[in-house]
């Protein structure tokens, strides 16, 4: 690979290409879960608990049942004895999770019972008629209170609300702290926010007595989805068919839908009719269980007077809500980049997941990395301010250097490759730092508060599951494979089958580009289909920024096998050693004598039809599969919790200029630049799109998004008037600057980028706002930094000045 231009060697990889999927989306022919409408479909509406914590005394559904069109009312009492619970990803078997509450509800919005009717409207009419007697109970909402033994226990059988509590110590932390010139401690709070896709969770379930199959069309992004549903419904694992060809209207982590599918699967089986549920926005926000990390950090950094940060203590207290799925594991993934891009030598990490009476959390884009980056980057700026060193210079002093890769961090992950300072410099150059500083000063001269914020952050990619055994030693999962089947048919056309869902990442485009590159076929001629879970090979779904690496790798692997087979057939026909052959895509020819060739069509004919010409022992036809384990994966953590988390490490550096009107206290982003390095970009348009979108998510998390609860635990953010998603007026023009440090671990040098932008954006925006507020000796150490929050900080400064 040419280091100067890693793209030189490629025909299709790295080129501008129109996404295959877009052809159907722009004409309104996407196939979303809400578009599926089987004949005879029934519809459901949810009756949700209004209380943060209550006993269910009585449910009277008689009036609801008498409404014409109502088919059934299902309660927790009925359902929960017929299905198995879903358990958390950590070892807390008493924290059982059923789709419906039975006898006790634990959060405002929890599903209590379900009305099934011939239309959604009638189901809602009937839902209003269900009479439920509740007895309100005490609740606990503050994680710092919930962690105490005398607080209200969310699950009385669990014995504690603190369902995960582990102190990791990597390296001689205390010793390193004693050798530091300075230490600095601080608290930051990442607000409960989420990626909130515009499409809510939707699904249809249909059970057939005749085939014994439960069909599911769902808007889902969830590893091991069919297996978990089958398990809960006590069906054989090959009795559940999830249709992955459903187009998912955005997920960014959150569409896990287990309780939805278990509930509807049960109803479909019970009533013998297809059942559909499209969450309305109210159901989605309060009871869809898609809220994200809600994390308090307490950090202490130890550093020398020249700015070298040598050690860190970090406590992460996560408020996971009333039930747990994979959510506590969101404390675990950041272990794989716990020191960010810096040469921090030793780290103590206290990871705590605590239950409260709030909506359960779900996996959100980055799986906890963005909050961790925000915490660390805030600290780096605080160190800079303390030492009166420029924050950019301080970062440069601490960034892992280009020649230090692969770099082993204290928690056991090796960063594969990187060129951090170059990316930072590229971003600064694009932002024109000198001009930016002048612009900032001009804004200040006009009476505005203005600041520049920088972040340098890791984007681990490749979605390995190492946090599973790390956080639950009883779970010995070390396989996190991905698969692809590629075939060349009788007509010589290429078709590939991928094994999981897509929610905007353009997987069909990814796979056809990769296969086209290997087989030297025009990518637009390659058809890519989504299998269903019964005819799919194993997959672990598009999580953890893994598909460019894993699906790209699997597709390339299968295509390479096919290419190899074609070469062997050609070698046998031309009677030469395969090493002397050139594969051109049109044909295979002898290197020194191109006239000695055999065409693609002829090779296909031999493989499919001319058995008498096929090399002995060779399987007829042209179809290959490739099932691939995550590179560097396969190991369990050691006793200190050291393990290789993800294989490949992308990197981003954000440079942001922010101004604040002291009258309105509203922050405005004046300039936004992102330097991004995800190795070789297979589809640059897709990668850039992810990055812009991730930054928009980050802007929302930093400035306006929060799921709020009243003091009584009432959910306050149920609509889009309460929970604010940024529009095109709030997201500025963004400049992206690319750099390419290929990964040594992947076929083309690609790294993942599904979480691009989001992982470094809140950190940079927060740093910019705090740079502005530092001019009046104040700061904000929590998100979101709304106008009111900024005003509170300014008030704090004013009252301190008045006192002094």
């Amino acid at each position: 690979m040419d280091k100067k231009n890693p793209y030189q060697q490629f025909n299709f990889i790295g080129k501008h290409r129109r996404a295959v999927e877009h052809r159907r989306f722009v004409v309104g022919k996407g196939n979303y879960a809400g578009d599926v409408l089987l004949p005879g479909t029934l519809h459901i509406a949810i009756v949700a608990s209004p209380y943060a914590s209550a006993k269910i005394l009585k449910i009277d559904a008689s009036e609801a049942m008498s409404l014409p069109g109502v088919q059934a009312v299902i309660t927790g009492e009925e359902l929960n004895s017929a299905v198995l619970p879903v358990l958390p990803g950590v070892d807390a078997p008493a924290v059982k999770r059923f789709p419906l509450a039975d006898k006790i509800t634990r959060y405002s919005g929890e599903w209590v019972c379900v009305v099934v009717a011939t239309s959604r409207a009638i189901a809602e009419d009937a839902a209003e008629l269900v009479q439920i007697d509740y007895e309100e109970m005490p609740c606990v909402l503050d994680p710092e209170i919930a962690i105490k033994n005398d607080s209200h226990q969310v699950h009385s059988d669990a014995g504690t609300n603190l369902i995960f509590n582990r102190q990791f110590v990597w390296g001689p932390v205390d010793e390193d702290f004693s050798k530091c010139d300075h230490q600095l401690s601080y608290r930051v709070k990442w607000a409960r926010s989420s990626t909130v896709p515009i499409e809510t969770f939707a699904l249809t379930c249909n059970w057939s007595d005749a085939t014994g199959i439960l069909d599911i069309w769902a808007s889902v992004q969830m590893p091991k989805y069919p297996e978990q549903i089958a398990n809960a419904l006590q069906l054989p694992s090959n009795a559940v068919r999830v249709h992955y060809d459903i187009d998912v209207g955005g997920s960014y982590g959150v569409k896990r839908g287990l309780k939805h599918a278990i509930l509807l699967g049960y109803i479909a089986k019970k009533l013998g009719k297809p059942v559909r549920f499209i969450e309305d926005r109210l159901e989605n926000m309060r009871g869809g269980d898609m809220q994200g990390p809600d994390r308090l950090f307490e950090v202490t950094l130890g550093f020398m007077k020249d700015g070298e940060i040598t050690c860190m203590k970090m406590r992460a207290l996560e408020d996971i809500g009333a039930y747990a799925g994979r959510s506590p594991l969101q404390l675990g993934k950041p272990v794989g980049a716990i020191c960010g891009p810096y040469r921090i030598k030793s780290v103590a990490y206290l990871a705590q997941a605590v239950l409260t009476n709030k909506t359960p959390q779900e996996a959100v884009r980055g799986f906890g990395q963005s909050p961790t980056n925000y915490a660390l980057e805030t600290g780096v700026d605080k160190v800079a301010r303390f030492l009166k060193i420029d924050p950019i210079q301080l970062r440069k002093r601490n960034l892992i250097k280009h020649d230090e890769f692969p770099y082993l961090i204290p928690s056991g992950t090796r960063y594969d490759s990187g060129d951090y300072e170059v990316v930072l410099d590229k971003a600064l150059k694009e932002a024109n730092l000198e001009k930016l500083i002048l612009e900032r000063d001009k804004l200040r001269a006009k009476g505005l508060l203005a600041g520049i914020g920088v972040s340098t952050c890791l984007e681990p990619s490749g979605g390995n599951s190492s946090f599973e055994p790390l956080f639950n030693p009883k779970n010995e999962t070390t396989t996190w494979m991905e698969s692809c089947v590629v075939k060349i048919d009788l007509g010589g056309q290429v078709t590939a089958l991928m094994a999981t869902s897509t929610s905007g990442q353009a997987h069909e485009t990814l796979v056809s580009t990769v296969i086209g590159e290997v087989l030297l076929q025009e990518p637009d001629t390659i058809r890519v289909l989504h299998a269903d879970s019964l005819n799919a090979l194993p997959s672990n779904s598009p999580v953890g920024s893994r598909m460019a690496i894993m699906l790209g790798g699997a597709a390339a692997g299968a295509a390479k096998k096919l290419k190899n087979k074609l070469l062997i057939i050609a070698a046998s026909q031309l009677n030469v050693d395969p090493a002397n052959l050139v594969f051109s895509g049109r044909d295979v020819h002898v290197a020194q004598s191109p006239d000695l060739k055999i065409s693609w069509a002829e090779l296909v004919a031999i493989a499919h039809r001319k058995f008498h010409l096929l090399p002995k022992e060779m399987e007829p036809g042209l179809q290959e599969k490739f099932v691939w384990e995550v590179p560097t994966g396969g190991d369990l953590p050691d006793e200190h919790g050291r393990v290789q988390m993800y294989p490949c490490h992308s990197f981003e550096s954000h440079v942001v200029l922010v101004s604040i009107d002291p009258d309105t206290c509203k922050a405005k982003i004046n300039r936004y630049v992102c330097g991004h390095d995800c190795g070789v970009m297979i589809s640059p348009d897709v990668v850039h799109g992810m990055t812009y979108g991730g930054i928009a998510h980050g802007i929302g998390a930093a400035l306006m998004e929060k799921f709020a609860y009243s003091e009584e635990g009432q959910f306050l953010s149920g609509t889009f008037m309460d929970y604010l998603l940024p529009s095109s007026s709030e997201v500025p023009a963004i400049s992206i600057v690319d750099h390419c440090t290929p990964s040594p671990l992947t076929e083309f040098g690609q790294k993942g980028s599904g979480e691009a932008g989001y992982l470094g954006s809140p950190a940079a925006i927060a740093n910019a706002i705090n740079d502005a507020l530092a001019t009046i000796n104040t700061s904000i150490d929590y998100l979101p930094m709304t106008p009111n929050a900024i005003w509170n900080a300014i008030q704090k400064a004013n009252s301190l000045t008045e006192q002094s």
Binding site: E124, D280, C665, L716, S729, N792
Partner: protein, 296 residues
Amino acid sequence: MKAAPFNYHLAQDLAHAKELLHEFGDDVKIIAGGQSLVPMMAMRLAKPANLIDIARLPELQNIQITEDKVTIGAGVKQSALEKHLASQKAPLLQAVIPWIGHQQTRNRGTVGGSLAHADPSAELPLIALILKASIHCESKQDGSRKISAEDFFQGPMWTSLQANECLTQIDWPLWSGAFIGYDFEETAIRQGDFAMASAASQIQVDHDGKVLKWNCGVGGMGGTPYQFDQLTNQFLGQKLSKEKINEFSSQAIALTDPTSDLHASSSYRKHLAKALLSRTIEKSLLMAQSNTQPNR
């Protein structure tokens, strides 16, 4: 989020609308643009048994501009008003329309609907108060009456319209002469959302810069928008300095009673409203001083 069942009645003309209102008086709502009502019905916060559609009533679609006022039919869409008004005629009214929601909502939402809905943060009620608009309504039983904006807005989402009354037209007084200036500002976290606070000012000065005519107000600061004519009248004949404006705004905001909600505490709101009010007064004054040509 599907609305509860209701009976739909399409009014053919104003008389028919009044007849329907009379007939279903116990449980009826008027729908025009529906931009506020339909979402409320979807969330089942409103469950009228009868809906009377007045969106196409010919009597409510007119815009008439005379010497001293603009008369706008209650059924005129906000986007239609935006297109129709020339900026010299009713400048403050013209200025606020782009702030109302988004273009998609303005393509359906009506002038009358916004006033009848009476959201305390809404733009048109604030301007109606400041300009001292008159609101005409009619019912079958009680004929027609005219309500001053001051008397119209009673509280949050609450007006003095009776259940059987239909809002028909609104008169917006026009100021004439030279040295007239205006300004409107609002702050929301996100473009197009209801404002956390808003402010508007319209002022006329003489050639020396002394106040001839002035009114201003704030929205989002209580159950209804506020207008401050009792305070502004005290400044007639005076020149406004920055200090006077600041003092004025403090006094004005002290009269308001904002609540705290998810997006803004009452104390932040007071700070915001005061800052916006001072700014709009200053800007309207600057504009007035430079508008040497009469607007007619």
